[in-house]
Amino acid sequence: MRYLYYPGCSAEATGKAYDISTRALMAKLGVELIELDDWNCCGATSYFSVRELDSFAIAARNLSIAQAQGDEDLVAICNACYTTLSKTNRYMAESDEVFKAVNGALGVVGRSYDGKKPVRHIMDVLINDVGLDAVADKVTRRLTGVKVAPYYGCQYSRPMGTFDDTEFPTTMDSLFKALGAEVVDYPSKLKCCGGLMMMTKEEGALRMCHELLKTAADKNADVIVAACPLCEMNLEAYQPRVNSTFGTNFKIPVMYFTQLAGLAFGVEPKKLAIDLQLVSCDDVLAAIPA
């Protein structure tokens, strides 16, 4: 199994651990990831809201490189990258105007794109290509007794719901069940974390994070697992700010799902960059049976 791999900007900074753990996990599962040549920002969030067409053009540059580089599907790890890249394909297919404008922009740098490169989420690959049976077969340290709150984030399945239910996804639940964990009922799984609002309207974003953390605490989760670098950062790095604002005392470990899954396959914590987490994951590590 081979894929072209699009790490995304966060993977080189705040979301480094997501990138490192993804590579380690996939290597362990025998999935080859070939990093996309000379990739640029996916065109997410601020671009989309302000200058939509520019955003399509930026995304399409990545997709056009991917098409030239190989026949493999392009895999993204960040929810926003995944959604932006897929959305560009969809808009190019649905609108002649967008198709022409995007190719006009690409033409300036001597590129073109037909809008047809398949874009996949890393979870989609794990669940549907590797398969839950194969995943369950390769587990060496079952996560028995670890209470996991699967946090999907708002752009995981919305708006298209390509590989999971749009409004109530369950793929991450089934992955961790296959890994032996106790998946808690986490009804806030698709609630927004506040996203970039943390920079512009902090009190609003903190309220949203508070709801997510409180639900996890109410459900007695040992760890929240995330599938998006921004979600992960907001939930983890802003826990002290949530605590001081709402008078709470949360100290909930937040991990990338690839980190916790990696542990189940026997990858060393160091190789999964667990030491980079801000809230200590020691209790989680200790809870996993040897």
């Binding site: 239910d165 749009t166 409004e167 009804p187 709801e211 409180k214």
Partner: protein, 658 residues
């Protein structure tokens, strides 16, 4: 052929055609075409003065053929053929050229539309000299009627027809008639008890000597044509001899398998493996569920308590399905609806969160004969302090069903009333998009509910969750919604959430419609012949529709439609004969080689093999003119009257001649 005189009549249809096609230009052009003696235009050709143009030309100008360029032949071909006939011309010497549905309505450019109209007209002008006069075939009519579906629509239609002395067979899929209405507690806006007004009709039907009730049966096969349908009905094995079963219910009390979810109670209550679905069931007879009965499913039920409990000895494990053949003259389809599956709307948590229930479940909870004895309670047995009713679940939603289900606003109001009546202290919220209270006394009922203190919040719920953010929400459900009148987002704590789910076509509506040979609309409901003027007829002569199988409707509309369908049927089966189209196929025995290919292919069993002549022959009364034999024959022997090869080729030549 050269001496044929063709009259051409071009309709403006107001601006429907005239707004796009240059009718004057087409008329001038038509006058120059071969054999055309006269070409006229008129604003509305279907009006009396329009029809008179044709009649007068036949009489005064001696027109021998006519073509009307107007709407689809399904619309007005009968009108104009009648006019031709009144004028003294054989009606089959008149052709329609459809320049509305096939041209003006679907062409943007007026120049292109005008050119296309000429082409369509030219095809008919070229074929007309080859038309032959035909005479309608008159066939006898069977006076008996089949009604499919035993809800309020089917019951009403059957009773109406029986009152006129016709014999009706009513086929119902479930063990009892009654349909959805039998499950309801009260009916809006009058608050009559549904059972009180329905069960007398059910009981009357069960006793009616003119009605043969075949419950627990399904139609498998239909053939024939208007006035002469042959229907095969599968009577499913009940494993109970219904002739001697008295409906005492002792067997269901004795049965050891007692925890089967009751379909009638929407899975909220239980029945036994042998059961009578509800106390007022008609026929009041027991049925064994073969999937749940230990004897039938596993071959071992040591005690067979039902057998020993049954006084008359009605239980018969050896009973088999039986296929019964019926001959009827007309059919009414009244197969009803299914509630939209609310689990699809995952945001509302149906099936995941306790106390999120569907409207039909609430009907059973509020019903005195239901699983809670009419007590409105949550799963834990406690009365809810706050109930939120979500409108338009699955309806008016581009993700699911775009249409309005028409009854949900009103039944939601009824629910609010019932809750307020049972539990005056309970807060009730209705989350609506628009209140659609369109019927007689409906708006007044809405006003009454406002006075009863129900909270009406205009907004579609975003989600139902059990995540509590305040002490008041702990351990309860919370409905998040935008209140579009206040312009705020609200969190409404609730102990019970009722999903007012929309009405869907039956899951097998399409397959069933195919068995009977008519179609479904894009939204999946049975397609009526005309949405305004033929709402209870189908494209198949002799088959009518009534009730929610056509589109969601309330009980008054359903009953009215059932009456209309019964009247339509009566207008047909009250006659001794009916005229059917003569455009059927014929086989020249001299040319037929007797290869049998058409015999096996005919979908209507209308071709038989005559050994004496060593040739196939068409049974005229059975042929529906589908053309399968015409296209299948290797020697081109079968020909369909009105659609002869030479006529079709002439049409093609005409279309290409412009």
């Amino acid at each position: 052929m050269a001496e044929e005189k063709i009259g051409v009549y071009i309709c403006h249809c107001g601006t429907n055609i005239g707004g796009k096609v240059d009718v004057e230009e087409v008329t001038k052009w038509a006058a120059t075409q071969p054999n055309v003696a006269v070409a006229r235009e008129y604003k509305y050709m279907c009006s009396d003065p329009g029809q008179d143009l044709i009649k007068n030309d036949i009489k005064e100008l001696g027109i021998t053929r006519a073509v009307v360029a107007a709407c689809s032949p399904t619309m007005h071909e009968p009108t104009f053929r009648k006019a031709a006939s009144d004028g003294g011309l054989n009606p089959y010497l008149l052709q329609m050229a459809n320049i509305r549905e096939h041209c003006s309505w679907v062409t943007i450019d007026p120049v292109a539309a005008t050119a296309k109209a000429k082409r369509i007209l030219s095809a008919q002008i070229h074929r007309l000299p080859l038309n032959e006069p035909l005479e309608p075939i008159e066939v006898p009519v069977n006076h008996d009627v089949l009604v499919v579906g035993g809800g309020i629509a089917g019951i009403e239609a059957a009773l109406k027809l029986s009152a006129t002395g016709k014999h009706v067979t009513l086929v119902e899929r479930n063990p009892s008639i009654g349909g959805h209405m039998a499950m309801f507690d009260k009916t809006f806006p009058t608050l009559d008890c549904a059972a009180c007004i329905l069960t007398p009709k059910m009981s009357a039907l069960g006793k009616d000597p003119n009605i043969t009730l075949m419950a627990y049966s399904e139609v498998e096969y239909v053939e024939g044509y208007v006035g002469n349908f042959t229907v095969k009905v599968r009577k499913k094995a009940r494993y109970v001899n219904t002739d001697i079963c008295t409906g005492c219910g002792a067997c269901q009390e004795a049965c050891v398998v007692r925890k089967v979810k009751s379909e009638f109670d929407q899975g909220l209550g239980f029945r036994s493996a042998i059961y009578i679905p509800f106390a007022q069931a008609v026929p009041l007879r027991a049925t064994i569920d073969p999937a749940k009965c230990l004897t039938l499913s596993k071959g071992k039920c040591k005690q067979q308590t039902c057998v020993s409990a049954c006084g008359p000895g009605a239980i018969d494990f050896e009973q088999k399905d039986e296929v019964v053949e019926l001959d009827v003259g007309a059919i009414i389809m009244a197969t009803g609806f299914e509630l939209w599956d609310a689990a699809q709307e995952t945001r509302y948590g149906y099936g995941r969160l306790d106390n999120v229930i569907t409207s039909l479940e609430f009907e059973r909870i509020s019903n005195a004969s239901g699983p809670t004895g009419g007590e409105i309670v949550c799963k834990n047995g406690e009365a809810p302090k706050s109930v939120v009713i979500l409108h338009c679940v699955g309806s008016r939603d581009q993700n699911y069903q775009e249409f309005c289900s028409r009854v949900c606003c009103m039944y939601s109001l009824k629910f609010s009333h019932l809750i307020k009546e049972h539990l005056p202290e309970t807060e009730v919220y209705e989350l609506y998009i628009d209140m659609r209270c369109f019927g007689k006394n409906y708006e007044e009922f809405y006003r009454r509910l406002m006075d009863e203190g129900v909270n009406f919040v205009r907004g579609r719920a975003a989600e139902v969750t059990d995540v509590a953010l305040s002490p008041d929400e702990e351990g309860r459900l919370v409905v998040k919604t935008e209140d579009t009148l206040l312009g705020i987002v609200r969190r409404i704590p609730a102990d019970m959430v009722i999903l007012s789910a929309g009405l869907s076509p039956a899951h097998d509506a399409k397959e069933v419609s195919q068995i009977f040979g008519f179609g479904c609309s894009a939204n999946g409901f049975y397609l009526e012949r005309h949405p305004k003027l033929e709402p209870v007829a189908t494209v198949t002569d002799g088959i009518f529709i009534a009730g929610c199988c056509q589109y969601p409707k309330d009980i008054p509309d359903t009953v009215a439609q059932a009456g209309a369908a019964a009247a339509g049927v009566l207008g047909l089966v009250d006659n001794d004969t009916v005229k059917v189209e003569p455009t059927i196929s014929y086989i020249d025995p001299e040319k037929c080689s007797g290869c049998h290919i058409c015999v096996g292919l005919c979908p209507h069993n209308a071709i038989q093999y005559n050994e004496e002549k060593n040739a196939a022959e068409v049974i005229e009364a059975a042929c529906k003119g589908c053309g399968v034999c015409v296209s299948a024959c290797g020697s081109n022997v079968p020909q369909q009257r009105g659609y002869l090869d030479v006529q079709i080729f002439a049409e093609i030549e005409g279309a290409l001649a412009v």
